[in-house]
Symmetry: C3
Subunit: 176 residues, 3 copies
C-alpha cells in the first residue's frame, strides 16, 4: 500500500513507525584489503542513511586497536600473540604480496596517489558517521586483548547473540 493511500484512509490506521535501514558486518579478517572493503562499505552505507553495526572478531580486532596502546597479553601465549600481531590498524598488510611489509607500503603509496583515505582515516570517518563498532567478547578473552587498547568511540564488547539480532534487523549482512 502506498504512502498516499495510507494518508487518505478515512479510518484510524495503525501508526507505522519507520524502522531505520540497517547494515551489519562481521569482520574476522585483519588483512589490509579486507579491512578496506569493510570500512568502505561501512562508511558508504552510513552516508546513504543506514545504521551500521560492525562486529570485530579474531584478527579483525586489530582494526580497533589504538596505535599507542600498550602491548597485549597476560599469559605466555597471549604475549606471543600480542607481539606477533601487535600494532594498530595501520600495520595491516594485504592478504597477498605482503613481502614482509613492502606490500603494505606499496599499496599505501598507490592509495595515497589516488587520494584514497588510509585505514585509520576511514575508521575515524566511520566513527564520525555514527557507525557502531563492537569487539567480540569471546575473541577478546581468548586473544587477551582488553577494551582499553581500543580507540575511543568503540562500544562495550558484545557476544554473537547481539550480532545476530542486528543482522536479523538488517537488509544486508556480510561476513568479511
Amino acid at each position: 500500500m502506498s504512502d498516499t493511500a495510507v494518508a487518505t484512509m478515512p479510518f484510524a490506521a495503525p501508526v507505522e513507525v519507520e524502522t531505520p535501514r540497517k547494515v551489519s558486518l562481521v569482520v574476522l579478517s585483519g588483512d589490509m584489503d579486507k579491512l578496506f572493503g569493510a570500512f568502505i562499505i561501512a562508511t558508504g552505507a552510513a552516508a546513504m542513511g543506514n545504521e551500521v553495526t560492525m562486529f570485530f572478531t579474531f584478527w579483525g580486532l586489530r582494526a580497533l586497536k589504538d596505535a599507542d596502546a600498550k602491548a597485549t597479553g597476560k599469559t605466555l601465549f597471549g604475549r606471543m600473540l600480542g607481539m606477533m600481531y601487535g600494532g594498530g590498524i595501520e600495520k595491516a598488510g594485504p592478504s597477498k604480496f605482503g613481502f614482509g611489509g613492502m606490500g603494505r607500503w606499496m599499496f599505501g603509496k598507490m592509495m595515497k596517489s589516488n587520494n584514497v583515505s588510509s585505514l585509520p582515516e576511514l575508521r575515524d570517518l566511520a566513527l564520525d558517521l555514527g557507525v557502531k563498532m563492537y569487539g567480540c567478547q569471546m575473541s577478546m578473552d581468548v586473544m587477551e586483548i582488553p577494551q582499553d587498547t581500543f580507540v575511543k568511540g568503540v562500544q562495550e564488547p558484545v557476544g554473537v547473540g547481539f550480532f545476530l539480532a542486528e543482522a536479523e534487523a538488517s537488509h544486508t549482512s556480510l561476513f568479511i
Copy 2:
C-alpha cells in the same frame, strides 16, 4: 498488525502460518578461526530459535569429516589431496600463524583456558541444536570425499540450487 488485533477481528482472517526464521551459511574455508566463527554463529542462531542451514564446500568439507574415517581419494590427485588435507575438524589450523601446527595447539590452549568449546564440541552442539549440515555434491565429487567419511547426522549432499533456496528464505545469509 499485532497478534492481539488478529485475535479480536470479528471476521474470518486468512490463517497465517508462521514461517520459521532462518539463517544460512556457506562454509568454503577450512581454517580454524573461520570454522569457529561459522559454528559460533550457527549454534547462537539455533539457540535463538532460528532454523540454521550450513552448506559446506571445498576446504569447508573438512569440518564434516569423522576423525576416524578412512583416507579419501581414488585417483592419484585425489589421494594426494586426501593426504595433504587429511584428518578431521580438529586438524584445522588458524588462517594466520600456523607455524606447522603450533598455532593450532596454542589457540587450543588459549581457548581451553577460557572455557571455549573445541571445534568438534561446537559441531556436536550444532547437530544437537538441530542445525542442518550439507556437503556440496560437486566439491565432494571433485575432491573425491565420499559421504561415508562424514560424522553421523550430516544430511545427504546437495547442490548450489538447494543452498540458494535456503538463502532466499533466510533473514541472514553469510559466506564464510
Copy 3:
C-alpha cells in the same frame, strides 16, 4: 494474503508490480576456489530466475581480465602489481596448496574429469545468463587496471554506493 484472496476481492486492489528477485555478490578474492564459489552461485541464482549483480574489487578484478589483454600499470608500483598479478581468470590458483601453480593444474584436472566447467567457461555462462558484472572504480584506479583490459560484456565501473543499493534490493548478498 494469498493470491486467491486477492483475485476474488470485490473491489479494486492496488496493482502490485512484481519486483524481480535479486542476488548481489562482492568478490574481493582472486583465489580459484572462491571464484568458483562466486560463479557457481551467480550462474545458479541466474538460472533460478534471479537478477544477479557481481561487484569485483581488489584481487577479484582478475576475474574480469581478458587473457589477451595488455599488461596493466602506469607507475612503477602499478607495473609491478600487473606483473605479479598478471594474466586472466585462468591463472587463478587455489587459496591452499598452490605449489607454484601445481595446485591450479591439479584442481583443473580433477574438475575436468568430473565435467565441471572451467572458470572462463563459468564466467561466459554467467554473462550469457545475464549476470551483471561491475569493476570497482576505486580499486581499478588504485591498482591501475583499466576497463579495456576486461572481457566484453563487463559493465562500466561503479562505486560502493551502487553495490549497496543493489544489496538492499536483494534477498541474498554475500561477500566472497
